[in-house]
Amino acid sequence: MVIDLRKCIGCNTCSVACKLENGVHIGVWKSWVKQIQKGEYPNVSKSFLPLMCNNCEEPICVTVCPVNANRIEDNGIVSTDPHRCVACRYCMAACPYEVRYVHPVKKIVEKCNWCLHRVKVGLQPACVEACPTGAMVFGDMNDPESEVSKLLAKQPVQVLKPEMGTKPHVFYINLDHDAVEIKREVDVL
């Protein structure tokens, strides 16, 4: 997956399409768009950062899951098995991207799997198909003729938290450092 942030207009269509396609419960998200504002008038801008599961090449969630509910599919997507998951939340604790959540009713852990059910029948993930500006590009990185391969070859790209060593598969063009650094405060106590 390549996300060209030069084209992203922060319309949240991807989040809505994801909610519709996957029936994502209220209060939780499989994909969302972080939005920041920087500078002061007249030198001001907004940055958007669409976030979702990175479907890492070396995912920590697969390593730590005690019941083997997470696995890497043949096409490289990391999937979760709802029948095995017991919601011990270990994967949520270990994931550096916080893309996992416990379904409030089903009590199992879910996350974005790039619409595996669609990809398997040759369709694009719902967010990619819905994106009005074509900022999101999905395809096979091993095929040199695919759109993602061409973009990865020609454009300077960046991933989130490369230091975690999970080899994430969402590549951003024009990633804004400020959008990554600023975070919503957590209220644990």
Binding site: V64, P66, A93, A94, Y101, I108, K161, K183, V186
Partner: protein, 298 residues
């Protein structure tokens, strides 16, 4: 000026149930280790602590897994799936086996101890020591494998957990021995010798614990960006009253001074020190579990 306009809320992963689970398994492992000093290693001095230790170890280990079952979304399925869909890369998978084997072994050990079969008691005591160490060490591993959180992701975590486990185990044992001797024994008198021996052991283990905590936090404070933020949070931020004040000052430093200074040593003061330690370690578990998640990671 940079401002966050929109981001979603993330769920908090581990809560107080997990902190309590760590607390109870810790005290169980700690009291088991003390119990084997007499019946496994033959240190006669610790004989009065042997039976108390094993009973405490078993009781605490009955409470601990209940916390886990309350925490997971599917309690019954979780017990079944942990054995049928084993993942050898996950510390939690090993935990499932340890949480079965350790209480079983402790019960057998206790059975032979109360029956008076010293040879078999020694054997099961020796089997029990690595089990007790791993049953608590693995909980440290669980956190250490949570690599997204700077506070947890350190190789010191299992050792830190083990030492604090033994510290809290001894402190609780001192209290239980005092109550037992005072109320249930024939003489209604506290066995001073064992209490003093345990207290000096407690003191030196607290010294070791403080050294480990210092190593851990000072390394965090000069490490990568998120580690620095975490160190700031627990030393100078929101968590510092809990970490510095309750956990380290009242829970470790003051009891250490009390039990290691001959002038302050008396049955009453040792009891106070033990209560402080037992409460302090409880806060330590909470600081570790909540402190690890107190900073946003994405």
């Amino acid at each position: 000026m940079t401002e966050l306009v929109y981001d979603i809320h993330h769920q908090i992963t581990f809560r107080w149930l997990i902190a309590l689970y760590f607390y109870f398994t810790g005290m169980s492992a700690g009291s088991f280790v003390i119990s084997t000093l007499a019946y496994g290693f033959g240190l006669k001095k610790f004989k009065p602590a042997g039976k108390v230790g094993v009973v405490m170890a078993i009781l605490l280990l009955f409470i601990a897994p209940i916390m886990l079952l309350l925490q997971v979304g599917w309690p019954v399925r979780s017990v079944w799936n942990h054995f049928t869909y084993l993942n050898f890369h996950s510390p939690m998978s090993y935990g499932a086996f340890l949480l079965m084997m350790y209480p079983l072994n402790s019960i057998i050990y206790a059975y032979f101890m109360f029956k008076g079969d010293m040879k078999k008691t020694k054997m099961f005591g020796m089997i029990g020591i690595p089990l007790a160490i791993t049953v608590h060490g693995y909980t440290g591993f669980i956190l250490a494998f949570g690599k997204a959180r700077a506070l947890w992701n350190t190789a010191l975590m299992p050792i830190l957990f083990l030492v604090s486990a033994i510290v809290s185990g001894i402190a609780l044992m001192i209290l239980v021995m005092m109550v037992k001797d005072k109320i249930f024994s024939k003489e209604k008198k506290i066995n001073k010798e064992i209490v003093y021996t345990l207290a000096s052991m407690l003191g030196w283990l607290i010294v070791f614990d403080l050294v480990l905590v210092f190593c851990d936090i000072s390394t965090l404070a000069i490490s990568h960006a998120e580690a620095k933020e975490t160190a700031h949070l627990i030393i100078a931020g929101q968590m510092s009253p809990l970490f510095l004040g309750i956990e380290n000052l009242f829970g470790k430093f003051i009891p250490m001074i009390i039990v290691l200074t001959p002038k302050f040593r008396s049955i009453r003061n040792i009891a106070i020190a033990s209560v402080l330690v037992v409460v302090g370690i409880l806060f330590m578990r909470f600081v570790v579990v909540y402190g690890g998640q107190a900073l946003p990671i994405i």
